[in-house]
């Protein structure tokens, strides 16, 4: 038997898929008895939880008032008046009132820089990155601490609230990534000394809880230093948090490095690229791209872990909120719940933004590249 094709077949569209709202509902929610039961159960759970939450947070909430009396009405919901009255403290801690514009300026410039960086194909992007990494930290340091250019000094012991959270988190994030990369490279190094030192560092820091690190930094460390040396408590905490998260970062980055095929190193070497150039130009761009989810995961973890600085007497965002629960002027049954809800909301917004941004970054970087 023989066969010879006379004409090639043309491409045709796939068979029709049922469309429209009803079609979607039938396909996704009510496709079988079991699926229908699960859908109904889901709807019931939403019915039970969402309306009371809305009632508490919005309908029955007290939005205005200057003291506990406002929130002591019958069936009162959330006491947002408390959050409104203490908002300044939640944001700045005990930062000198007249100088708070400096914090605002740092926030605004920071937000603007990050916002502009998110715009792809910005013509001045390169300079913006340089500004964000080199000039902005100096600017922020000068503005926040003061003592120069005629700005009154504001001691770090007065810093608090969201300001402190941001300072600890952003320093931790910005410094721990390069440090983690170096440690990851060290751990994969062929030089035994580098490797052993990196392994010891990583395992030592990962093996202790952050609380221990913070206690060491603020309570124990001064005991070992010669008497009279007294450096800033916030600085000590910053160093502790950064070194701690660098160890985690190192392992995330190492995971990415391990995923890069040996051929990439060989091709880079064969072209005459040395160790640093091969890593900076070829290996790391690919490895870091692979582990963006892990890196952002570590960032988010670090951001939330900043709340632990409370135990060494620094009042971060959550700490500033909690401190105000004991204000007799605002002692109501709803105060704590409202404060915690507010804290949760702000933390969630920030962490969710980080997560969304990382997803955008991933899909942008993967355009066209990962199909080999």
């Amino acid at each position: 038997m023989s066969f010879v094709r006379e004409t090639y077949l043309l491409e045709t569209p796939p068979p029709g898929i049922s469309v429209g709202v009803l079609g979607w509902l039938r396909n996704n929610l009510f496709s079988s008895i079991g699926n229908t039961l699960l859908s109904l159960l889901g709807l019931y759970i939403l019915w039970v939880t969402v309306p009371p939450l809305i009632e508490w947070a919005l309908l029955d909430a007290v939005w205005q008032g200057s003291g506990r009396d406002a929130c002591m009405v019958e069936n009162a919901g959330a006491c947002w008046a408390f959050v409104a009255a203490k908002f300044g403290q939640f944001m700045y801690g005990r930062y000198t009132f007249e100088e708070r514009w400096r914090v605002d300026l740092v926030f605004v410039v920071g937000a603007l820089t990050v916002g502009l960086l998110m715009i792809e194909r910005m013509p001045w992007r390169r300079y913006l990155v340089a500004f964000g990494l080199l000039i902005y930290p100096v600017l922020a340091y000068v503005l926040l601490t003061g003592g120069q250019f005629g700005l009154p000094a504001v001691e770090t012991s007065l810093w608090g609230g969201l300001l402190l959270t941001f300072v600890v988190a952003s320093v931790g994030i910005v410094v721990s990534l390069p440090l983690g990369i170096l440690l990851a490279l060290g751990r994969r190094s062929k030089m035994p000394v580098m490797r052993v030192l990196s392994v010891i560092y990583i395992e030592a820091w990962r093996g202790v809880p952050l609380i221990t690190v913070l206690f060491m930094a603020s309570v124990m460390l001064p005991l070992f230093l010669p008497p009279g040396t007294n450096f800033d408590k916030l600085l000590r905490v910053l160093i502790g948090v950064t070194l701690f998260s660098a160890a985690y970062m190192a392992e995330v980055v190492r995971g990415g490095l391990q995923a890069i095929a040996r051929g990439q190193y060989e091709a880079a070497s064969a072209l005459g690229l040395g160790f640093w150039r091969a890593n900076l130009l070829i290996i790391l761009p690919q490895a870091l791209r692979l582990v963006i989810p892990g890196i952002v995961n570590t960032f988010i973890g670090l951001f939330k872990d900043t709340t632990l600085v409370m135990i060494v007497g620094l009042f971060d965002f959550l700490g500033s909120i909690q401190v105000n629960f004991s204000d007799a002027n605002w002692a109501t049954p709803q105060t704590a719940a409202s404060g915690y809800a507010f804290a949760a909301l702000i933390f969630w917004i920030i962490c969710f933004s980080m997560s969304r941004y990382s997803m955008r970054l991933e899909s942008r970087l993967n355009e066209g590249t990962r199909r080999a």
Binding site: A261, E266, L271, G272, L273, G368, R370, R371, A372
Partner: protein, 248 residues
Amino acid sequence: MNENQMAIEMTGVDKWFGTFHVLKQIDLSVKRGDRIVICGPSGSGKSTLIRCINRLEEHQQGRIVVNGIELNHDLKRIDEVRAEVGMVFQSFNLFPHLSILENCTLAPIWVRKLPKAQAHELAMKYLERVQIADQAHKFPGQLSGGQQQRVAIARALCMNPKIMLFDEPTSSLDPEMIKEVLDVMIALASDGMTMLCVTHEMGFARTVADRVIFMDAGQIVEENEPEAFFNRPQHPRTKEFLSQILSH
């Protein structure tokens, strides 16, 4: 023989992977412009041999001199050697995060310190030559295997190497793509490039090679001009190998 005419000089080279003796007393000299094909069964050490020439593998005994530079623990000199020795791999090893053009300009810019515009021009010249200039702004993942391998050849050529090493360049390609890569290699050979090719493309060896080297069990078993090598093989192992690969 004048030292300057020597591209590669290997004397008494030994190498072990752990306790496995992978290269045994290799002596090989390659003059400028020589085109050498190395063949042999898998595991015979032919890839390891050419990977020793740009020190992707480190030999443990003997001497290797490439372009007048002896390979030893001096890392600076090794990068010098590597800049003059281009290599093409079986699995292409293009950089997937860079465009075709960037793959080609990277080393000229960072190793040769060429200005961007000049590197760009150079890259386009060689991409033109391997007939893939129209794909310059695509990424490696968007190209077929044969196209990727041609880009890999262009990438190596952009460094203006004195020697080109090919490590089974067509072994992972579909039959239809093998020819387009071989055509590029043949053109390169006719321009007088010094080439060492590990390959089983015997047609290529017949037309292009000055010498064919047969390796087995980590040693050079037979070495001859292609005409004699294919028509009058001497060693029984060579005869057996040739009858295996030429019988189909």
